[in-house]
Symmetry: C2
Subunit: 168 residues, 2 copies
DNA sequence: TTTTATTTTCAATTTATTTTGAAAGTTCAG
DNA sequence: CTGAACTTTCAAAATAAATTGAAAATAAAA
Protein backbone atom coordinates (compact mmCIF):
# COMPACT_ATOMS: atom_id res chain seq x y z
CA UNK A 1 0.00 0.00 0.00
CA UNK A 2 1.26 3.43 -0.92
CA UNK A 3 1.82 6.03 1.78
CA UNK A 4 -0.52 8.58 0.20
CA UNK A 5 -3.28 6.01 0.02
CA UNK A 6 -2.81 4.81 3.61
CA UNK A 7 -2.65 8.39 4.85
CA UNK A 8 -5.85 9.24 3.03
CA UNK A 9 -7.61 6.25 4.53
CA UNK A 10 -6.34 6.99 8.00
CA UNK A 11 -7.52 10.60 7.85
CA UNK A 12 -10.91 9.69 6.49
CA UNK A 13 -11.47 6.89 8.99
CA UNK A 14 -10.27 8.99 11.88
CA UNK A 15 -12.87 11.56 10.88
CA UNK A 16 -15.63 8.98 10.80
CA UNK A 17 -14.47 7.60 14.12
CA UNK A 18 -14.54 11.06 15.62
CA UNK A 19 -18.13 11.75 14.61
CA UNK A 20 -19.23 8.67 16.53
CA UNK A 21 -17.77 10.33 19.60
CA UNK A 22 -19.41 13.67 19.11
CA UNK A 23 -16.36 15.22 17.48
CA UNK A 24 -16.66 17.28 14.35
CA UNK A 25 -15.48 15.22 11.38
CA UNK A 26 -13.21 17.94 10.02
CA UNK A 27 -11.61 18.61 13.38
CA UNK A 28 -10.76 14.93 13.69
CA UNK A 29 -9.39 14.87 10.15
CA UNK A 30 -7.19 17.90 10.73
CA UNK A 31 -5.91 16.27 13.89
CA UNK A 32 -5.20 13.05 12.01
CA UNK A 33 -3.33 14.95 9.31
CA UNK A 34 -1.22 16.75 11.89
CA UNK A 35 -0.52 13.50 13.75
CA UNK A 36 1.11 11.96 10.70
CA UNK A 37 2.91 15.11 9.61
CA UNK A 38 6.44 15.03 11.02
CA UNK A 39 6.91 18.78 10.62
CA UNK A 40 4.60 21.71 11.31
CA UNK A 41 2.31 22.68 8.42
CA UNK A 42 0.35 25.80 7.47
CA UNK A 43 -3.36 26.56 7.09
CA UNK A 44 -2.88 26.45 3.33
CA UNK A 45 -1.35 22.98 3.52
CA UNK A 46 -4.37 21.76 5.47
CA UNK A 47 -6.84 23.48 3.12
CA UNK A 48 -5.17 21.81 0.18
CA UNK A 49 -4.73 18.35 1.62
CA UNK A 50 -8.26 18.10 2.98
CA UNK A 51 -9.98 20.28 0.35
CA UNK A 52 -11.66 22.54 2.87
CA UNK A 53 -12.06 26.29 3.20
CA UNK A 54 -9.82 28.68 5.04
CA UNK A 55 -12.49 29.57 7.57
CA UNK A 56 -13.14 25.94 8.34
CA UNK A 57 -9.48 25.22 8.96
CA UNK A 58 -9.17 28.28 11.12
CA UNK A 59 -12.11 27.45 13.38
CA UNK A 60 -11.22 23.81 13.83
CA UNK A 61 -7.57 24.56 14.49
CA UNK A 62 -8.65 26.99 17.19
CA UNK A 63 -10.76 24.23 18.67
CA UNK A 64 -7.88 21.77 18.61
CA UNK A 65 -5.69 24.35 20.30
CA UNK A 66 -8.32 24.83 23.02
CA UNK A 67 -8.05 21.09 23.64
CA UNK A 68 -4.25 21.48 23.86
CA UNK A 69 -3.82 18.92 21.12
CA UNK A 70 -2.28 21.30 18.62
CA UNK A 71 0.06 24.24 18.97
CA UNK A 72 0.70 27.31 16.91
CA UNK A 73 4.29 27.64 15.81
CA UNK A 74 5.93 30.82 14.60
CA UNK A 75 9.05 30.16 12.60
CA UNK A 76 11.56 33.00 12.81
CA UNK A 77 11.65 34.95 9.58
CA UNK A 78 8.39 33.40 8.35
CA UNK A 79 5.18 35.39 8.09
CA UNK A 80 2.86 32.40 8.09
CA UNK A 81 1.81 30.45 11.14
CA UNK A 82 2.57 26.77 11.36
CA UNK A 83 0.73 24.13 13.32
CA UNK A 84 1.91 20.98 14.96
CA UNK A 85 0.13 18.26 16.93
CA UNK A 86 1.28 16.65 20.14
CA UNK A 87 2.78 13.40 18.86
CA UNK A 88 2.97 11.41 22.09
CA UNK A 89 -0.25 9.44 21.77
CA UNK A 90 -0.35 8.81 25.51
CA UNK A 91 -0.34 12.53 26.15
CA UNK A 92 -3.02 12.95 23.51
CA UNK A 93 -5.27 10.39 25.19
CA UNK A 94 -4.60 11.89 28.61
CA UNK A 95 -5.36 15.36 27.40
CA UNK A 96 -8.64 14.27 25.79
CA UNK A 97 -9.68 12.46 28.97
CA UNK A 98 -8.79 15.51 31.03
CA UNK A 99 -10.79 17.88 28.85
CA UNK A 100 -13.85 15.68 28.49
CA UNK A 101 -13.85 15.09 32.20
CA UNK A 102 -13.72 18.80 32.87
CA UNK A 103 -16.26 19.73 30.22
CA UNK A 104 -18.72 16.89 30.73
CA UNK A 105 -18.28 14.64 33.74
CA UNK A 106 -17.76 17.43 36.25
CA UNK A 107 -20.89 19.35 35.16
CA UNK A 108 -22.90 16.13 35.16
CA UNK A 109 -21.84 15.34 38.74
CA UNK A 110 -22.71 18.89 39.69
CA UNK A 111 -26.18 18.48 38.21
CA UNK A 112 -26.76 15.14 39.93
CA UNK A 113 -25.79 16.74 43.22
CA UNK A 114 -28.67 19.16 42.78
CA UNK A 115 -31.23 16.49 42.04
CA UNK A 116 -31.17 14.38 45.16
CA UNK A 117 -33.12 16.69 47.40
CA UNK A 118 -36.66 15.68 46.48
CA UNK A 119 -39.70 16.94 48.39
CA UNK A 120 -42.52 14.58 49.22
CA UNK A 121 -43.08 11.02 50.29
CA UNK A 122 -39.78 9.15 50.25
CA UNK A 123 -41.74 5.91 50.34
CA UNK A 124 -43.52 6.62 47.06
CA UNK A 125 -42.35 4.12 44.44
CA UNK A 126 -41.56 6.77 41.80
CA UNK A 127 -39.69 8.94 44.27
CA UNK A 128 -37.72 6.01 45.64
CA UNK A 129 -36.70 4.89 42.17
CA UNK A 130 -35.64 8.39 41.19
CA UNK A 131 -33.57 9.06 44.30
CA UNK A 132 -32.01 5.61 44.08
CA UNK A 133 -31.11 5.97 40.42
CA UNK A 134 -29.62 9.44 40.82
CA UNK A 135 -27.56 8.12 43.74
CA UNK A 136 -26.31 5.16 41.73
CA UNK A 137 -25.34 7.28 38.76
CA UNK A 138 -23.57 9.65 41.11
CA UNK A 139 -21.59 6.76 42.60
CA UNK A 140 -20.66 5.55 39.13
CA UNK A 141 -19.66 9.05 38.10
CA UNK A 142 -17.52 9.56 41.18
CA UNK A 143 -15.76 6.27 40.66
CA UNK A 144 -15.13 7.09 36.99
CA UNK A 145 -13.81 10.44 38.17
CA UNK A 146 -11.26 8.76 40.44
CA UNK A 147 -10.19 6.24 37.84
CA UNK A 148 -9.69 8.94 35.25
CA UNK A 149 -7.74 11.10 37.67
CA UNK A 150 -5.30 8.27 38.27
CA UNK A 151 -4.88 7.83 34.55
CA UNK A 152 -4.35 11.54 34.02
CA UNK A 153 -1.80 11.81 36.78
CA UNK A 154 0.14 8.68 35.88
CA UNK A 155 3.64 9.74 34.94
CA UNK A 156 4.53 6.91 32.64
CA UNK A 157 2.68 5.69 29.58
CA UNK A 158 -0.26 3.91 31.08
CA UNK A 159 -0.77 1.84 28.01
CA UNK A 160 2.55 0.11 28.47
CA UNK A 161 3.52 1.21 31.95
CA UNK A 162 3.03 -0.05 35.42
CA UNK A 163 -0.22 1.55 36.53
CA UNK A 164 -2.27 -0.86 34.51
CA UNK A 165 -0.15 -3.95 35.09
CA UNK A 166 -3.20 -5.23 36.93
CA UNK A 167 -4.88 -5.61 33.58
CA UNK A 168 -2.26 -8.19 32.55
CA UNK B 1 -37.44 20.38 44.63
CA UNK B 2 -40.46 18.55 43.33
CA UNK B 3 -40.08 15.12 41.78
CA UNK B 4 -41.65 16.14 38.48
CA UNK B 5 -39.26 19.05 38.20
CA UNK B 6 -36.19 17.01 39.06
CA UNK B 7 -37.24 14.26 36.69
CA UNK B 8 -37.72 16.76 33.89
CA UNK B 9 -34.30 18.22 34.50
CA UNK B 10 -32.65 14.84 34.66
CA UNK B 11 -34.19 13.73 31.37
CA UNK B 12 -33.32 16.92 29.61
CA UNK B 13 -29.73 16.98 30.88
CA UNK B 14 -29.22 13.32 30.15
CA UNK B 15 -30.26 14.07 26.57
CA UNK B 16 -27.80 16.94 26.29
CA UNK B 17 -25.09 14.80 27.82
CA UNK B 18 -25.82 12.04 25.32
CA UNK B 19 -25.42 14.29 22.30
CA UNK B 20 -21.92 15.17 23.42
CA UNK B 21 -21.13 11.48 23.16
CA UNK B 22 -22.59 10.96 19.73
CA UNK B 23 -25.87 9.62 21.05
CA UNK B 24 -29.17 10.84 19.67
CA UNK B 25 -30.74 13.25 22.14
CA UNK B 26 -34.13 11.56 22.06
CA UNK B 27 -32.67 8.12 22.55
CA UNK B 28 -30.85 9.32 25.63
CA UNK B 29 -34.00 10.99 26.94
CA UNK B 30 -36.09 7.88 26.46
CA UNK B 31 -33.42 5.91 28.28
CA UNK B 32 -33.39 8.44 31.13
CA UNK B 33 -37.17 8.28 31.41
CA UNK B 34 -37.10 4.49 31.57
CA UNK B 35 -34.29 4.54 34.14
CA UNK B 36 -36.38 6.50 36.59
CA UNK B 37 -39.63 4.64 35.87
CA UNK B 38 -40.03 1.86 38.43
CA UNK B 39 -42.52 -0.03 36.27
CA UNK B 40 -42.59 -0.76 32.53
CA UNK B 41 -44.30 1.90 30.40
CA UNK B 42 -45.82 1.99 26.91
CA UNK B 43 -44.96 3.84 23.71
CA UNK B 44 -47.89 6.14 24.40
CA UNK B 45 -46.54 7.00 27.84
CA UNK B 46 -43.18 7.92 26.29
CA UNK B 47 -44.82 9.93 23.49
CA UNK B 48 -46.80 11.87 26.03
CA UNK B 49 -44.07 12.45 28.61
CA UNK B 50 -41.46 13.55 26.08
CA UNK B 51 -43.83 15.11 23.53
CA UNK B 52 -42.47 13.17 20.59
CA UNK B 53 -44.04 11.23 17.74
CA UNK B 54 -44.87 7.56 17.67
CA UNK B 55 -42.37 6.84 14.90
CA UNK B 56 -39.61 8.54 16.83
CA UNK B 57 -40.30 6.54 19.97
CA UNK B 58 -40.48 3.34 17.99
CA UNK B 59 -37.14 3.82 16.23
CA UNK B 60 -35.25 4.91 19.31
CA UNK B 61 -36.68 2.15 21.44
CA UNK B 62 -35.55 -0.34 18.81
CA UNK B 63 -32.11 1.20 19.02
CA UNK B 64 -32.04 0.96 22.80
CA UNK B 65 -33.08 -2.66 22.55
CA UNK B 66 -30.24 -3.34 20.10
CA UNK B 67 -27.91 -1.98 22.78
CA UNK B 68 -29.53 -4.37 25.29
CA UNK B 69 -30.35 -1.44 27.53
CA UNK B 70 -34.12 -1.82 27.24
CA UNK B 71 -36.40 -4.79 26.95
CA UNK B 72 -39.82 -5.31 25.49
CA UNK B 73 -42.32 -6.66 27.99
CA UNK B 74 -45.59 -8.36 27.14
CA UNK B 75 -48.03 -8.34 30.02
CA UNK B 76 -50.48 -11.27 29.93
CA UNK B 77 -53.93 -10.13 28.88
CA UNK B 78 -52.62 -6.79 27.63
CA UNK B 79 -52.55 -5.88 23.97
CA UNK B 80 -49.95 -3.14 24.27
CA UNK B 81 -46.22 -3.64 24.60
CA UNK B 82 -44.42 -2.29 27.62
CA UNK B 83 -40.80 -1.27 27.91
CA UNK B 84 -38.40 -1.42 30.79
CA UNK B 85 -34.75 -0.38 31.17
CA UNK B 86 -31.99 -2.33 32.88
CA UNK B 87 -31.80 -0.61 36.27
CA UNK B 88 -28.44 -1.85 37.53
CA UNK B 89 -26.30 1.09 36.50
CA UNK B 90 -23.15 -1.02 36.58
CA UNK B 91 -24.67 -3.39 34.03
CA UNK B 92 -25.74 -0.40 31.98
CA UNK B 93 -22.19 0.99 31.90
CA UNK B 94 -20.75 -2.42 31.14
CA UNK B 95 -23.19 -2.97 28.33
CA UNK B 96 -22.44 0.41 26.77
CA UNK B 97 -18.70 -0.22 26.99
CA UNK B 98 -19.17 -3.65 25.43
CA UNK B 99 -21.23 -2.34 22.54
CA UNK B 100 -19.07 0.66 21.78
CA UNK B 101 -15.99 -1.52 21.89
CA UNK B 102 -17.55 -3.93 19.43
CA UNK B 103 -18.96 -1.27 17.15
CA UNK B 104 -16.07 1.18 17.21
CA UNK B 105 -12.82 0.07 18.80
CA UNK B 106 -12.68 -3.33 17.12
CA UNK B 107 -13.23 -1.90 13.60
CA UNK B 108 -10.67 0.82 14.28
CA UNK B 109 -8.06 -1.73 15.32
CA UNK B 110 -8.90 -3.74 12.24
CA UNK B 111 -8.33 -0.69 10.06
CA UNK B 112 -5.04 0.18 11.74
CA UNK B 113 -3.89 -3.37 11.13
CA UNK B 114 -4.33 -2.79 7.43
CA UNK B 115 -2.38 0.43 7.37
CA UNK B 116 1.03 -0.60 8.58
CA UNK B 117 2.25 -2.27 5.44
CA UNK B 118 3.57 0.76 3.57
CA UNK B 119 5.55 0.46 0.34
CA UNK B 120 8.61 2.60 -0.24
CA UNK B 121 11.51 4.03 1.68
CA UNK B 122 11.13 3.24 5.36
CA UNK B 123 13.76 5.89 6.07
CA UNK B 124 11.67 8.67 4.56
CA UNK B 125 10.61 11.08 7.29
CA UNK B 126 6.93 11.08 6.31
CA UNK B 127 6.80 7.31 6.04
CA UNK B 128 8.57 6.85 9.35
CA UNK B 129 6.20 9.21 11.12
CA UNK B 130 3.16 7.51 9.63
CA UNK B 131 4.24 3.98 10.48
CA UNK B 132 5.28 5.05 13.97
CA UNK B 133 2.02 6.87 14.66
CA UNK B 134 -0.14 4.01 13.39
CA UNK B 135 1.86 1.64 15.57
CA UNK B 136 1.45 3.83 18.63
CA UNK B 137 -2.28 4.23 18.14
CA UNK B 138 -2.55 0.49 17.68
CA UNK B 139 -0.72 -0.06 20.97
CA UNK B 140 -3.00 2.38 22.74
CA UNK B 141 -6.04 0.74 21.21
CA UNK B 142 -4.93 -2.72 22.21
CA UNK B 143 -4.27 -1.61 25.76
CA UNK B 144 -7.67 0.07 25.95
CA UNK B 145 -9.14 -3.14 24.58
CA UNK B 146 -7.61 -5.15 27.41
CA UNK B 147 -8.61 -2.71 30.10
CA UNK B 148 -12.18 -2.63 28.86
CA UNK B 149 -12.34 -6.41 28.66
CA UNK B 150 -11.38 -6.66 32.31
CA UNK B 151 -14.08 -4.17 33.22
CA UNK B 152 -16.67 -6.00 31.15
CA UNK B 153 -15.81 -9.35 32.64
CA UNK B 154 -15.59 -8.18 36.23
CA UNK B 155 -18.25 -9.96 38.21
CA UNK B 156 -18.78 -7.43 40.90
CA UNK B 157 -19.63 -3.77 40.57
CA UNK B 158 -16.37 -2.29 39.48
CA UNK B 159 -17.31 1.10 40.73
CA UNK B 160 -17.38 -0.10 44.29
CA UNK B 161 -15.79 -3.52 44.01
CA UNK B 162 -12.31 -4.90 44.20
CA UNK B 163 -11.09 -4.75 40.64
CA UNK B 164 -10.45 -1.06 40.85
CA UNK B 165 -9.12 -0.99 44.41
CA UNK B 166 -5.86 -0.01 42.82
CA UNK B 167 -7.42 3.36 42.16
CA UNK B 168 -7.70 3.95 45.90
C1' DT C 1 -62.80 -14.46 8.28
C1' DT C 2 -63.30 -9.68 9.43
C1' DT C 3 -62.55 -6.12 12.47
C1' DT C 4 -59.81 -3.59 15.56
C1' DA C 5 -55.71 -2.47 18.15
C1' DT C 6 -51.08 -1.87 17.80
C1' DT C 7 -46.49 -1.61 15.70
C1' DT C 8 -43.45 -0.55 11.92
C1' DT C 9 -41.81 1.84 8.01
C1' DC C 10 -40.20 5.59 5.39
C1' DA C 11 -40.75 9.77 2.23
C1' DA C 12 -41.21 14.32 3.27
C1' DT C 13 -40.31 17.88 6.44
C1' DT C 14 -38.05 20.16 10.02
C1' DT C 15 -34.20 21.17 12.77
C1' DA C 16 -29.33 21.26 13.81
C1' DT C 17 -24.69 21.34 12.38
C1' DT C 18 -21.06 22.29 9.37
C1' DT C 19 -18.90 24.78 5.74
C1' DT C 20 -18.04 28.48 2.78
C1' DG C 21 -16.09 32.72 1.29
C1' DA C 22 -15.71 37.37 1.26
C1' DA C 23 -15.14 41.31 4.25
C1' DA C 24 -13.02 43.00 8.28
C1' DG C 25 -9.23 42.75 11.23
C1' DT C 26 -4.38 42.27 12.33
C1' DT C 27 0.51 42.26 11.84
C1' DC C 28 4.64 43.58 10.13
C1' DA C 29 8.23 45.02 6.57
C1' DG C 30 9.58 48.81 4.13
C1' DC D 1 2.34 55.66 7.88
C1' DT D 2 1.15 52.37 3.93
C1' DG D 3 0.35 48.30 1.74
C1' DA D 4 0.92 43.46 1.34
C1' DA D 5 0.55 39.09 3.76
C1' DC D 6 -1.88 36.70 6.58
C1' DT D 7 -5.70 35.56 10.10
C1' DT D 8 -10.25 35.90 11.93
C1' DT D 9 -15.09 36.47 11.81
C1' DC D 10 -19.69 35.43 10.73
C1' DA D 11 -24.01 35.64 7.82
C1' DA D 12 -25.58 32.85 4.33
C1' DA D 13 -25.59 28.40 2.02
C1' DA D 14 -24.96 23.62 2.05
C1' DT D 15 -25.15 19.36 4.28
C1' DA D 16 -26.39 16.09 7.68
C1' DA D 17 -29.36 14.33 11.21
C1' DA D 18 -33.59 13.87 13.54
C1' DT D 19 -38.56 13.91 13.47
C1' DT D 20 -43.11 13.57 11.87
C1' DG D 21 -47.23 11.34 10.55
C1' DA D 22 -49.90 8.71 7.77
C1' DA D 23 -49.99 4.42 5.23
C1' DA D 24 -48.72 -0.37 5.38
C1' DA D 25 -47.92 -4.32 8.02
C1' DT D 26 -48.85 -7.28 11.79
C1' DA D 27 -51.20 -9.52 15.45
C1' DA D 28 -54.95 -10.46 18.42
C1' DA D 29 -60.01 -10.52 19.17
C1' DA D 30 -64.48 -11.13 17.74
Amino acid sequence: MKLSEAKQQFISSWGAFGTQWGINRTMAQIHALLLVSPDPITQDDIMEQLSISRGNVNMNIRDLISWSLVERIILPGERKEYFSAEKDIWKVATQIIKERKKRELDPMLKLLGQLDNIDGDKKDKETKQFIGMIGDIKKLGNQADKVLDVMIKAEENWFTGSVLKIFK
